[in-house]
Every structure is written in C-alpha cells, then in structure tokens.
C-alpha cells in the first residue's frame, strides 16, 4: 500500500498533508471464532443437561457463570483477583526494570556480558517453580515471596530479548548518529534503546504470561488468598462449579492482558513497515 502511494507522489511533492492512512483490513471471517465458541458452549450446556453427567463432575456453563457472579458478589473474589493481579504486576515490573537494565549493560559491554553470561546461562534453564522451597525458607510465604518468585520467572525472557535487541542495532544508524555529533550516552538513549524496543516488547509479552503461571502456581502451594489459593481450596472440597468459575476468570484475565499488550505494541511500533 505505502509503496504504491509513494511511487505515485515521487515526482509531484507538494500537496500531501498527512501520511497515508493504511486502510484497515476488512476480515469477513471475524465472527467465525465467536460463533464456534457459542456453538461449543451450547453443546456443552445441552450435552450435560441431557446426558445426566453429574454437576459435581462437569457443571453446565450457565452454572459456572452464576457461580462466578456469586463469588464476586458475596465470596470476596474481587479481593483475591486484585491480590493476584498485584502480585503478578509487582513481579513483572520488578523483572522489567532489572531485565531491561542488565540487558542493556550486557548488550553493549562485552566485558559485562562475559562476566554475566555464565550466570544467566546457568539460571535460565532452572524451572523457577522449583525455587519455591528455597524462597520460602528465605522470604517466608508472604507477599515478598510471591513477587520475587514472579520476578524470577519474568526476568529471563526480558533480559535475553533486551540483549538480543541491543546487539542487532544497525551499525549504520550508530555511524549516522556519530556523524551528527552524538555522544556515547546519546547513542545509547536515542539509537540503541529505541532500536531494541520491538525485541524488548516481545520479551515483555512472554514474561507476563510466565508471571501469571508463577503467581497462580505458587498461590496454590502456599497462599491463603488469591485466585490460585481459591482454586486449590475449591478443588479440595469438590466445588467443581467454583473451580470452573475461577478458571474462566483466569482465562478472561489472560485474554485481556494479551489484548492490552497488542495495543501497546502497535502504538510503540507504528513506524514499522506495514
């Protein structure tokens, strides 16, 4: 699209006011997915009603929805959700700051990279869940523990992607900046960091997904409040409807966060070739 329009305007340049708006791709298949989901839920609802599968084993979608509403209304689920989200974002933000910071240092300094790489390479493959016992010994099983565990899970994708992003900066851009008088500090801030942004964002996206897993899993193990704790407790007393309700909520949270991230991605990288 952009190609054709720029070809057309190459020889007469004066009368263009704003960048060409890229027309949104009209996809007539957008309703296929939601429709398929609706059919699936309807099948589930009717299947359970007519087959006589006990609700204890597989509750109907309508029951799950009602349970979810009840949980919010009278069982304080909102408190658990806010608590879980706070833990996730606490760890995620901590990991973002640390991961991007160390990543830039490792990506730009060969010395720092040589020192730090062996630690990264050793810690990266360790399943972070397996650190729960050690972290509980060190930090107890409170908020600090959950935030640190989440951060440990999030930090490596951010770190590795930042290093990669910083390293693949086009040398020509650095040369051009030096030609225009940029100081080494200006090169870091105005060339290296912006050039690494798409890669850093890819790391953040992976990290947030891991953060959700870490916090919910740890809550199931150690916490009294939070979605993971609620989920585990419901399972223990065979409240299958409640289990499904919380799973549904977790799915909805995941979906929402992914969509928000996609929006942010598009805003930050609107300069890329489309």
């Amino acid at each position: 699209m952009a190609q054709t329009s720029s070809q057309a305007t190459i020889n007469d340049t004066g009368d263009v006011d704003s960048p060409p708006k890229i027309p949104r791709f009209k996809d007539e298949t957008w309703w296929y997915g939601p429709a398929a989901m609706l059919v699936f839920l309807l099948g589930w609802e009717l299947g359970v009603s007519f087959s006589g599968i006990p609700e204890l084993f597989l509750p109907r979608p309508s029951v799950v929805l009602r349970t979810l509403a009840e949980q919010f209304a009278s069982k304080g689920l909102l408190y658990d959700m806010v608590l879980t989200l706070t833990r996730i974002f606490g760890g995620f933000l901590l990991a973002s700051v640390v991961g991007i910071g160390i990543g830039i240092l490792m990506g730009t300094s060969r010395r720092i990279y040589a020192i730090a790489d062996i630690f990264v390479a050793t810690l990266y493959p360790v399943p972070k869940i397996s650190l729960i016992p050690l972290l509980v010994i060190w930090l107890g099983s409170g908020e600090l523990f959950l935030v640190v565990l989440c951060a440990l899970g999030c930090v490596f994708p951010v770190l590795v992607n930042t290093i990669y992003g910083v390293r693949q900066v086009d040398e020509g851009l650095v040369l051009a900046a030096r030609d225009l008088g940029a100081t080494p500090m200006q090169i870091q801030r105005k060339i290296v960091l912006p050039a690494a942004v798409p890669s850093i964002f890819a790391g953040l996206r992976i990290a947030l997904g891991i953060g959700i897993i870490m916090v919910v899993a740890a809550e199931m193990q150690t916490a009294r409040y939070g979605l993971g704790a609620k989920l585990f407790a419901a399972g223990q007393i065979l409240e299958t409807g409640e289990v499904f309700a919380i799973l549904l909520l977790l799915a909805a949270i995941g979906l929402t966060l992914t969509k928000i991230q996609q929006r942010l991605d598009n805003i930050v990288s609107r300069w890329r070739t489309r």
Binding site: I10, V16, S18, P19, D179, W271
Partner: protein
Amino acid sequence: MSAALAGENFAAVSIEHLTHRWASRTGRGTTALSDISFEFPAGKVTAIVGPSGCGKSTLLLILRGLMKASDGDVQFLYGPERRPGPPPRMSTVWQAFNLLPWRTVLDNVAFGLELAGVGRAEREEKAAAAIRSVELAGFENHYPAQLSGGMRQRVGLARGLVMSPEILFLDEPFGALDAQTKLYLQEQMSAVVESSGKTIILVTHSIEEAIFLGDQVLVMTARPGRVAATIPVDLPRPRSFEMQSSPRSGELFNEIYGLLRDEVRKAMMS
C-alpha cells in the same frame, strides 16, 4: 564563479602519508590505504573513484573523523594562506540512508540539531526549511518506511544540510537507487552543490557520476589504495544532465576508465 569566492570561507582537507591497516587474526593484517597524500580543495567537489575494496569508503570515514587511521593525520586548512585549524562542521550522506525508522521525516532531519541541544521550535523550523529545499514539503510526518528510496535519500541529504556543514561527505549517495531516480537526484544534487560553494567529498563507483558532479576526480588504485591520478573536470557549471553525453564527458570517461581498468582487474584477481 561564486563557488570559488565562497570557497575561501570553507575548509580544505589535507592528508599526508596516510596509511590504514586492518588488524586480522593472523596478525599480519591487510593494508587498506597506503601512503596517501592529497589535498581536497576548499569549495570544490572532489569525487573519489576506485575499484571495489580499494578503501574509498574507509578513506571517507577517516577524513570525516569517524575512524582513526593507523598512520598519518587529517588536517583542515583555512583561508587563502591555508592555515591549519580545528575541524569545521561536517556531515555525511550515506548509501544506506541510515535514517532512524522510528522517527518521522521531520524528527530525522532535526536529529542533529536535537543532539546539539537546539530547542524544539528552532530545530523544527530549520528542519522544515531543509525538507522544503529537497522538495519534500508535505512529507514531514511520514516515517521512512512510507517513502521510496529516492525520497529517503532526499531526507538523508536534508538531514546533512540542516547542520550547515562546511564540508559535506557523500558516501555513494545514489548507490542504492534505481537508474531513473539516480539521474533525477544527481541533477538535484548538482544544483545543491553549485549553490552552496561547500567543500564536498564524494565517494562513488560510478565514473559518470564523478564527472557529472565533480570539479576533480581522484582515481584510486586497487588495494592497498593509493592515488593513481587526479583528473580535473573542466566541464562548465551549471551542469545539466545533457552534458553527460557531451564529447568532453566522453573523453574524461575514457581517460578515467583507462586508469581504472587495470586496477579493477587487479581487484578481481586478488
């Protein structure tokens, strides 16, 4: 004409016994440039041609101060008495454009002023004027990815010119463009060159381009690069593209190609 007069205000660049060696793993290294002595006169366009790999782009980086030569100095000479002085304002236009893809045309052109701490209003005003001078008015808010190659290189030129350089370096500025766009931009560039009176150092692999834009052509040998000859271009200014097919252009082409042919063969054999 006026270019010669204006030239007195601009700097000449002089190099003496300049040598550059690339370090290599074996420790012997390759000699890219060998014992080059030359003076790029003030207010004139010097085109550097040579077979690929002869070190002409390396020479440009050294002259511009973006790379340090293994041996030898770059000096800047001022005034009729050619007194050595500090480096003047310089900027470069690159073959690969090297525009920042996340910045709009306006912000790309204003980048150098921004780095120098010029306030937003002033730098945007200057950048807008530079954008007009390369006939890109109306494209200030486009991103480089939305422009054609020729337009991107005009942004590159505006970005260099906005710094009001006393010496302008052109590193194969049309190398990445298609033939028609190249012709069109060469004409535009020659207009810029003739009106500015700046000292211009152009690296190119095109003999036609060197003749069309240059006041003199520095012909380099195959690696290690040395000065093979300096050919003055005695075509009148202002230049038009019809001149490229004039008999005098043809003679100059033959003379330069005659010098280059053996060097190109050497470069291919090594």
